[in-house]
Amino acid sequence: MSFAGKVVIVTGASRGIGHAIAAKFGAQGAKVAVNYCHNQDAANAVANDINISGGEALLIQADISQRADCEKIVEQTVDKWGTVDILVNNAGVTRDGLLMSLDESDWDKVISTNLEGAVFLSKAVLPYMMMQKKGRIINISSVSADNGRRGQVSYSASKGAINSFTKVLALEVAQKGITVNAIAPGMIETDMSDLVRGMASKQILSQIPAGRFGNTDEVAGLVQFLASDQASYITGEIIKIDGGITLGIGI
């Protein structure tokens, strides 16, 4: 699957799933805007990997919870490469806690990053995609949208909203050759899920029919498929990649 010359923006690309997505596009010859918020050293390492493996990287520090930063990411990418072919809205945060003890600023942080970041980045890239009558927006959602655990009210709500956003935006832009899909990972081995996996590893594993956690490269592979020409007729879908965790236990 070659993405030679394709311009890709990956938010939250310094770590975890975002890192894997950015690196995999880079290895296929893509021009990758590697967005990060705090972790410059990790983002640098991702950019180096991309440059070594045949792609081209552009590091962009930006906090996608800020609308001006969303525009900045797209502007810098277009200034350098002229357009955007693929946007992967990956960056996300968790601030878990029971609703009754939830801090308002934590709620705001989760919604402004996970939901609004994706919304305003999509808004900023769409004119370029529309002009070329082709584009891919891939939102990284979560199985928590429909199957959240206690304490995940803000995270689950943000991902549920992303799923709704995905479907309606897909409707709006389908006639312009742009597809919009979401991927809903289950328990993937990342820093973000490390805490949960560490606390209840055996209990969670027992609920996963596949008998193991997923890895970031598997998610990145699905992202690439949705970004490829092979997926040109798929839009408005929320695709789970969860080892069967949401299937429930058979009786």
Binding site: P127, M130, M131, K133, E172, V173, Q175, K176
Partner: protein, 127 residues
């Protein structure tokens, strides 16, 4: 003064690209919606292409009235109210609001937008 023939030719190209119509389908008096099949997202597409093609800046709602016809103060029972018509006159000098005001049904509004409207709008901007 700009050459209107040249503007018309470039506007036609924009419409061919944005709407996927054939060049032969486009004439100076074609209506964007009725004759050329434009839908809401197409109007944005047209604006972006005109901006890029002519190097002009078209403010949001500058060419197509995005917020006037969705404002309940300006539209009642499917008709644009007198204050709505005033708002259109003020903001849309490139449109023939007098003609529209004879039967201000919102469904007729799209008919005001012809290829000529776009050509005139762009020519005014360029001058």
């Amino acid at each position: 003064m700009v050459n209107k023939e040249e503007v018309y030719s470039k506007v036609t190209n924009c419409l061919v690209e944005a709407l996927g119509v054939d060049e032969e389908e486009v004439s100076i008096d074609s209506t964007l919606t009725g004759d050329l099949g434009a839908e809401s997202i197409d109007f944005l597409d047209i604006v972006f292409r005109l901006e890029k093609t002519f190097g002009i800046k078209i403010p949001r709602g500058g060419l197509f009235p995005e917020h006037i016809l969705s404002n309940p103060e300006y539209v009642k029972d499917g008709k644009v109210t007198p204050s709505g018509l005033d708002e259109l006159r003020k903001n849309m000098p490139h449109l023939d609001i007098e003609k529209f005001s004879k039967d201000p049904n919102v469904n007729n509004f799209a008919d005001l937008f012809t290829v000529e409207t776009l050509v005139n709008y762009v020519a005014t901007k360029l001058n």
